[in-house]
């Protein structure tokens, strides 16, 4: 199987990131694997799962972060989804939302479609360098358990837009499918943060 060698296991990585999750952390995954990973870590009304809208996760995160400045927003997406919306890193970079983290589970492959190599495969595009160039104030390269723990801790004390690349092994664990009705997901999310459903 192609993809990054020595990467972290994705389900365990997601579980570690959210182990001490508080109610004021709102999570937007990307379509595909990170949505299944987030569902596997435990369903939560403050998750807004994406089954589509490829390339849009980070911008949904920005709109949400601007609207809810007292909460923290974590976009946790894959390298392919991030590559499709790479311009949004520029948009977020100049907007400088203090409460937004964009975390990319980078396995170097398009896992949902047959493990075809992505642009980040084998030393290709460096998303961390892209984020840095776009003005993300904090850029973390996460490749081991200690790095994951440090990133998890940072999620509770964001101070400026954070970007993290998490090196993930190319694997395809059994899918864990969350609710897929978009209006249900939207209404339960809004209700969970005290808005009219």
């Amino acid at each position: 199987m192609s993809g990054h060698a020595n990467g972290l296991e994705r389900r365990a990585a997601m579980a570690t990131l959210l182990a001490d999750r508080k109610d004021d952390l709102l999570v937007v995954p990307g379509l595909g694997s990170t949505t299944w990973d987030l569902a596997a870590a435990g369903d939560n009304d403050r998750n807004f799962y994406l089954w589509g809208a490829m390339g849009g996760a980070a911008m949904i995160g920005l709109g949400l972060a601007l609207a809810q400045p007292d909460k923290r927003v974590a976009v946790i997406t894959g390298d392919g989804e991030m590559l499709m919306g790479m311009g949004s890193l520029a948009t977020i970079g100049i907007k400088q939302p203090a409460n937004l983290a964009v975390i990319v589970f980078d396995n170097g492959v398009y896992g949902e479609t047959g493990m075809q190599p992505s642009h980040t495969h084998q030393g290709g595009v460096d998303l961390l360098g892209v984020a840095r160039g776009c003005g993300f104030t904090d850029c973390l390269d996460v490749a081991d358990e200690a790095g994951l723990a440090a990133l998890a801790a940072r999620l509770s004390s964001l101070n400026g837009p954070l970007f993290a690349r998490v090196l993930i092994e190319a694997s395809d664990p059994p899918r864990v499918l969350p609710e897929r009705d978009g209006t249900v997901l939207k209404n339960r999310f809004r209700a969970a943060i005290g808005l009219k459903a």
Binding site: A53, G55, G56, M59, G63, A67, S88, K95, T183, R190
Partner: protein, 174 residues
């Protein structure tokens, strides 16, 4: 003789304020220049310049998830960039208000604007958007109000098309 002062961009701004819009995503366009300036000068509005229009569809969805109203400003060429992302608004019933300055129609000098400009109406209709087209200055505000009601009253999609005749032709040779 002086041309009559153009006031419809200011009326659009007032409509957005009355509607409680707090986030404005835009890809700059000359026809929207005054409205963009007004929004940028407003401390109660988050102005978000986008690299491509589809970012604004996602931005508006995130804003609504967080309890805020957003608007997306763009030129007609940007509509084509939004098509797949409009699935987000349609699937989840996110309110989406678009204000679109038209190119490729009345007095267009640049033929490259014509292909996309000519299909804005049918493409947006296929995407479940309600279309409001403004041609005369005195109808802009009323149509904008109706679009606001359609979008935020019932979590729907609407596009206010600001025709090229309304905006005036682009000056190519100065």
């Amino acid at each position: 003789m002086n041309a009559p002062a153009i006031d419809w961009p200011d009326k659009l701004y007032k409509t957005l304020k009355r509607a409680g819009v707090r986030q404005v995503g835009y890809v700059p366009d000359a026809g929207h220049a005054r409205l963009i300036d007004r929004c940028r000068a407003d401390p109660d509005i988050e102005d978000v310049v986008l690299t491509t229009e589809e970012e604004g569809v996602a931005l508006a969805a995130g804003a609504w998830l967080g309890g805020q109203r957003a608007v997306l400003l763009m030129q007609s060429s940007g509509v084509g960039n939004c098509i797949n992302m409009l699935s987000l608004a349609r699937t989840c019933r996110f309110p989406l208000l678009m204000m679109i300055t038209m190119r490729g129609e009345w007095e267009e000098f640049n033929p490259w604007q014509q292909p996309m400009g000519s299909i804005v109406d049918p493409v947006l209709k296929l995407c479940d958007a309600e279309i409001y087209r403004a041609v005369k200055p005195d109808e802009v505000e009323g149509l904008a109000e109706r679009a606001v009601q359609h979008v935020f009253g019932d979590e729907r999609i609407a596009a206010l098309l600001l025709s090229q005749e309304l905006i005036g032709k682009k000056v190519w040779v100065k």
